[in-house]
């Protein structure tokens, strides 16, 4: 683990109109670390990672990537910096084929007279190889529209895509949703493998017990605030669960 954090979030706030979604959140994330981001629905987990992957711009506060202050937020910038995200509710366009979704935003091209044409051969070949590895049945072709896929198959496409393009950071928002027991284990093993390859892995889930087994550190959020940040070696899953259960009250106490 390197000394300076790969991603440093410093006192960020985020407002959606009158709704205060993130309240003075500060977290450090290091390369080669698997961090579990846990909390109830509406706690601000997804909002926080949507700042990290460039979808939302914080209203106040600072974000540093690899020591550099981030001044502009857009998913294309985050992706160029090597941040891959498995989003929960977005990320796939139902009207496009698997191969087209796989490469959306960074399509491989063949130039003919300087004009970029989609390289369909590469798109099909690579995406087929990757999605087979992530459990897509043989009768599903990468030419099929994503809208025809089941929840688990859609998830496989997103995970396969993130792993194929992974670079420095992989953020997983509820990655095991819609997956069978065996697929779930596969994803969890994968998260650990990515971390061992030196990547930063941020794993969002409701299930503290599941992520406690995998993670080096757990960050708990509640009502848009960070309420706990502890190493898994120092706090048991039960103790952390108690924090989540008490989370709301702790926040009230601190505000008082």
């Amino acid at each position: 683990m390197s000394n300076h954090p790969l991603i440093q979030v410093k006192n960020i706030d985020l407002h959606f109109g009158s709704f205060h979604a993130l309240k003075n959140v500060s977290v450090d994330f290091h390369a080669g670390e698997l961090v579990g981001l846990v909390g109830d629905n509406g706690a601000g987990k997804t909002t926080l990672i949507r700042v990290l992957c460039g979808i939302h711009t914080p209203s106040a506060g600072e974000v540093y990537f690899d020591g550099q202050r981030v001044t502009q937020f857009h998913p294309s910038l985050a992706i160029n910096q090597g941040i891959e995200t498995i989003q929960q509710s977005v990320g796939l366009c139902d009207n496009l084929s698997i191969a087209r979704n796989f490469y959306l935003g960074r399509e491989p091209v063949k130039r003919i007279m300087g004009i970029p044409f989609l390289d369909f051969k590469t798109m099909r070949k690579t995406s087929t190889e990757v999605i087979r590895e992530f459990g897509l049945r043989d009768n599903v072709s990468t030419d099929d529209e994503v809208g025809r896929l089941s929840g688990g198959e859609r998830q496989s496409v997103k995970i396969g895509r993130a792993v194929e393009f992974k670079n420095r950071v992989v953020i997983m928002d509820e990655p095991t949703n819609h997956l069978s027991v065996r697929e779930r284990e596969h994803v969890n093993e994968l998260a650990v493998q990515l971390k061992q390859q030196g990547l930063l892995v941020i794993y969002i889930t409701h299930d503290i017990f599941q992520v406690h087994k995998l993670a080096d550190r757990i960050v708990i959020m509640e009502n848009g605030e960070k309420v706990e940040d502890a190493k898994t070696s120092e706090m048991t899953a039960d103790a952390l669960e108690e924090v989540i259960r008490q989370g709301g009250r702790q926040v009230e106490k601190r505000a008082a």
Partner: protein, 324 residues
């Protein structure tokens, strides 16, 4: 062909529906009009209308593909026609056509910019610009029309720019074929096309993959405006004059063509070939009513009925085809 494989085919190629309707319509029009409809002169007229309306509809189809709509194209066509006529007697006609196209592109940019910056529905924004540019067109012509002298209309340049014929058909048709070919390649075989369809399918998902949603939409609006204005220049080249009402209500026919052709109003699915078939069908119906001496006001009524039934039928057919 088994029903399942037919469903698959239809699910992938939404044009089949409009193609079937067009074939039936052609057969009906030819047989029931006693040669008044199916002759080379009349077909030439239909193709002339198809060409200008078609070029405009292609742009509307692209904007529709992003999940937006541009109903200002009728006025944009009028502005393109006026710009072309005003300039063609002053500068080289090629430059004049180019300038007219730029005027259209600017109107398109204006639409796209307003839609993406104000985040107001494009239906409202372009309803406003439809009236704004119609107003400007009427003010510019001030009740008269712009025209070009007869002696100017004979040159090769004018012929190429819609003012003459190639093999008996207006050269505007060549521009339409060119437009369909180029835009089809752009839409289905380039990264830009992939992103355009992604924006229409789910702008949030496209955004999360790093696609610049606003820029993509603005580009579609620019292409749409440019095509409408260029169609206006071609039409003006054919007629030799234009007044402030040129292109009025054509926006409605363009939208109808797109919907008939299998473009989804909510975005994400575009059929350029289908759109042209839709345009051809509308021009054919219009011409049929003319040769059968039906009063022209029935056209707009019929157009409305066709759009309502066709979009309903299309939706039902699609739901059926999706159940494999």
């Amino acid at each position: 062909m088994s029903p399942t494989s037919f469903k698959r085919l239809f699910a992938r190629h939404g044009e089949i529906g409009i193609l079937a309707i067009a074939v039936v319509a052609i057969a009906f029009f030819s047989l029931s009009s006693g040669g008044r409809w199916a002759n080379s002169f009349n077909v030439g007229t239909i193709l002339q209308v198809t060409a200008t309306l078609g070029l405009m509809s292609l742009g509307v189809a692209l904007v529709m593909g992003t999940g937006e709509i541009d109903i200002s194209v009728g006025s944009t066509l009028g502005m393109g026609a006026l710009a072309y006529l005003w300039l063609s007697i002053r500068i080289d006609p090629v430059l004049a056509a180019l300038a007219a196209t730029v005027v259209g592109a600017a109107i398109g940019w204006f639409n796209g910019y307003l839609v993406t910056v104000t985040k107001t529905p494009s239906l409202i924004i372009t309803l406003g610009t439809l009236m704004i540019f119609r107003g400007i067109a009427i003010a510019l012509t001030d009740g008269f029309s712009f025209s070009m002298p007869y002696e100017q209309r004979d040159s090769v340049t004018y012929t190429i720019l819609g003012g003459g014929d190639l093999l008996g058909f207006s050269t505007a048709i060549v521009w339409l074929v060119l437009g369909v070919a180029v835009l089809s390649v752009v839409l289905y075989a380039t990264p830009f096309g992939n992103r355009l369809l992604a924006v229409g399918g789910s702008s949030d998902s496209a955004h999360s993959r790093g696609v610049h949603v606003g820029k993509t939409k603005i580009t579609a609006f620019i292409v749409c405006g440019a095509l409408a204005a260029f169609a206006g220049a071609l039409e003006a080249g054919k007629l030799g004059f234009a007044d402030g009402s040129m292109g009025r209500q054509m926006e409605l026919q363009a939208i109808a063509s797109c919907v008939l052709g299998g473009c989804l109003l909510s975005g994400g699915r575009v059929s350029l070939i289908g759109t042209i078939l839709g345009t051809f069908l509308l021009s054919s119906i219009q011409s049929y009513l003319v040769v059968m001496a039906v009063k022209p006001q029935w056209f707009i009524l019929l157009l409305g009925l066709i759009v309502v039934f066709a979009s309903y039928g299309d939706q039902r057919f699609r739901t059926w085809a999706a159940k494999v």
